[in-house]
């Protein structure tokens, strides 16, 4: 599928790199080439529509399919399985570039990538053949179900249960805060198969007993549908089990480090956009006869924003590289990267809003949407508090 793009030559949107502060530490030439492709796509196919998607709560399935055609939905799935076969650092660069244009759809894209990865790592041949090509084109949209109304951080305490019955499982329970809920075709369900064992079972939309709560009204991430996923005697064949019974937790852990880099990368892109807007605003806006850029208080604020952005990027890329190299400290660094980058980038966006004064509060200036979207990154994929638990536990053991 050829992807056509619209190029506005007259009002040329600078295409290469972020507008400002584009550093290429850790990146080799291939990373830069892929970053350029992702940024070009992001600036032309996502950025102009991001505000509208947020306002209308529109989930852009067509753009996600185009992202898949670019190779962005199975980034770290092995080539032999039909994926693109690249590393986590490349994935981080891609998500950072795409979230410059729209944080929410990029975040959903990371979920698709994670689900595809889990099938690739733990699925049998049949499951890989069935799902990976469909995930790779967004012919099938995937969701990951872990959180329940009564178990968020305490995920081991989940209650959703899959009981063996003949050759099937019968599943009962409920999951909440599921991105893609009610829209996704496939749900990777983490549930208990015994009192202690957590397993991963694939459940397709349309299976009798599977229903969804109403679409949640959220502070941000409005372009992404979120709902409860309800299981009432849902019957699926036991062949839908991904991997082995009881391996669910190990599977989740192995996916989590990468998931944390992904969400941190989404924060980076959004913050970069807010940062670029701020730089322009500081030059354009005048008060007391001078541009805002000449006031030291604001200069200091801006200096901190830049430093936060760059340091966030560094730790995220370093952690990504450690996952790629299977470094023994990868979990520690991934937790640090997620904690630090999501907090810092939210602050960058929040300070950007302050710099814009009253205009920062208006949706037309886009900053407030970035703030709303980035706020949840401090919570999901493991709260930043849990990140601190992981970090200290790793260091003090």
């Amino acid at each position: 599928m050829q992807i056509i793009r619209n190029r506005l030559m007259v009002n040329h949107i600078p295409r290469f790199g972020f507008k400002y502060m584009s550093d290429s530490t850790f990146l080799n030439e291939e990373h830069l080439q892929i970053q350029k492709a992702a940024l070009d796509f992001s600036k032309e196919k996502m950025l102009p529509y991001s505000a509208e998607w947020d306002k209308k709560h529109h989930f852009p399935k067509d753009v996600l399919r185009e992202l898949a055609a670019m190779g962005f939905s199975t980034i770290y799935v092995k080539q032999e399985s039909g994926g693109v076969g690249l590393d986590r650092l490349t994935a981080s660069v891609i998500f950072e570039a795409l979230s410059y244009g729209d944080v929410t759809t990029t975040a959903y894209l990371t979920i698709q990538n994670m689900c595809a990865y889990m099938v690739d790592q733990f699925g049998n041949e049949e499951q890989k053949k069935t799902w990976i090509p469909r995930f790779g084109t967004f012919d099938a949209f995937a969701s990951y179900c872990l959180t329940e109304p009564n178990s968020g951080s305490d995920s081991k305490n989940m209650k959703t249960f899959a009981k063996k019955d003949g050759n099937d499982y019968v599943i009962n329970g409920s999951k909440c805060f599921i991105s893609g809920g009610s829209v996704s075709d496939v749900y990777l369900l983490m549930c208990k198969t015994s009192e202690k064992d957590v397993s991963c079972i694939i459940v397709e939309k349309g299976t009798p007993g599977l229903s969804f709560g109403k679409l949640e009204d959220k502070m941000g991430w409005n372009a992404s549908p979120t709902s409860m996923v309800l299981f009432d005697n849902v019957r699926v064949p036991q062949s839908n089990l991904l991997g082995k019974e009881g391996n669910g937790f190990k599977m989740a852990m192995s996916a989590l480090d990468g998931g944390r880099i992904n969400i941190a990368s989404c924060s980076l892109g959004g913050a970069s956009f807010a940062f670029d807007l701020s730089k322009d605003y500081l030059h354009d806006r005048k008060q007391f006869g001078q541009p805002l850029a000449s006031f030291q208080g604001l200069q200091f604020k801006f200096a901190d924003m830049a430093t936060n952005l760059v340091t966030s990027r560094l730790i995220v890329r370093q952690a990504a590289q450690m996952i790629d190299n299977n470094h023994p400290d990868k979990t520690l660094y991934s937790a640090m990267a997620k904690r630090y980058a999501t907090d810092s980038c939210f602050n960058v966006a929040n300070e950007a809003l302050q710099l814009h004064g009253g205009y920062g509060y208006l949706s037309e200036y886009q900053i407030e949407r970035i703030v709303r979207d980035l706020r949840v990154h401090q919570i999901l994929e493991g709260t930043n508090e849990i990140m601190k638990v992981i970090i200290s536990r790793n260091l003090l053991k």
């Binding site: 050829q2 992807i3 056509i4 793009r5 619209n6 190029r7 030559m9 040329h12 949107i13 600078p14 295409r15 290469f16 790199g17 507008k19 584009s22 030439e29 291939e30 830069l32 080439q33 892929i34 350029k36 492709a37 070009d40 796509f41 055609a69 670019m70 190779g71 962005f72 980034i75 693109v84 076969g85 690249l86 891609i94």
Partner: protein, 250 residues
Amino acid sequence: MKVLVAVKRVVDSGIKVRVKPDGIDLQGVKMTINPFCEIAVEEAVRLKEKKLIAEIVAVTIGPKQGAESLRHALALGADKAIHVTTEARIDQAVQPLDVANILAKLVERDNYNLVLMGKQSIDDDFNQTGQMLAGLLDWPQATFASNIQITDGIAQVVREIDGGLQTVKFKLPGVITCDLRLNQPRFASVPNIMKAKSKPLETIPLDKLGKLHNSIQITKTEAPAIRKGGAIVENVDVLIQKLRNEAKLF
């Protein structure tokens, strides 16, 4: 049919250039493929998809980093690449006539049926290389192409000229330079970027094919004058006086 597409690596059009006494400051500046060259590559790929040509070879002249533009061309769909290496400043010392001579040597070596290029590069805006190449090869040329059709070895090209649109027809081989509205280049997808890594890339030092004569010397580089504010005039006499004495219009 084989096509040679010439691409140049230039300063990215979106960045703010810094002017130094000896030219534009290229240090650490974002570089990218010349937009018109990218359009030429895209057109070649489309012609190949229509099965009108069999092979696309991209060529660039420049230092090591010039290979980036070649890899971009390969990722868009070129089959092979040639890198003519030189350490000379490509925005100053690599000039149209020398480039045309080098390309002519490659055309003679490899027997291309068509050369596609951008109409001009956005750093020096010479708009000469394609024309000179056609002259050296004694080939027909069509410049500022906004539409290209090839049927049975005949190229029909719609050219954007000052007066409107002109359609020319000639028997290949020939040189066509590409203008803005010819096409909109595709995005390089990740699978294609990865496939490009294994496509052949030939490196040739420039002195094996030609020489840089530097026959044009750049004597001065300056930024355009900063726009001064206007003024409201009281009557027509004052206006005429300003037009004559300040704007020097007549």
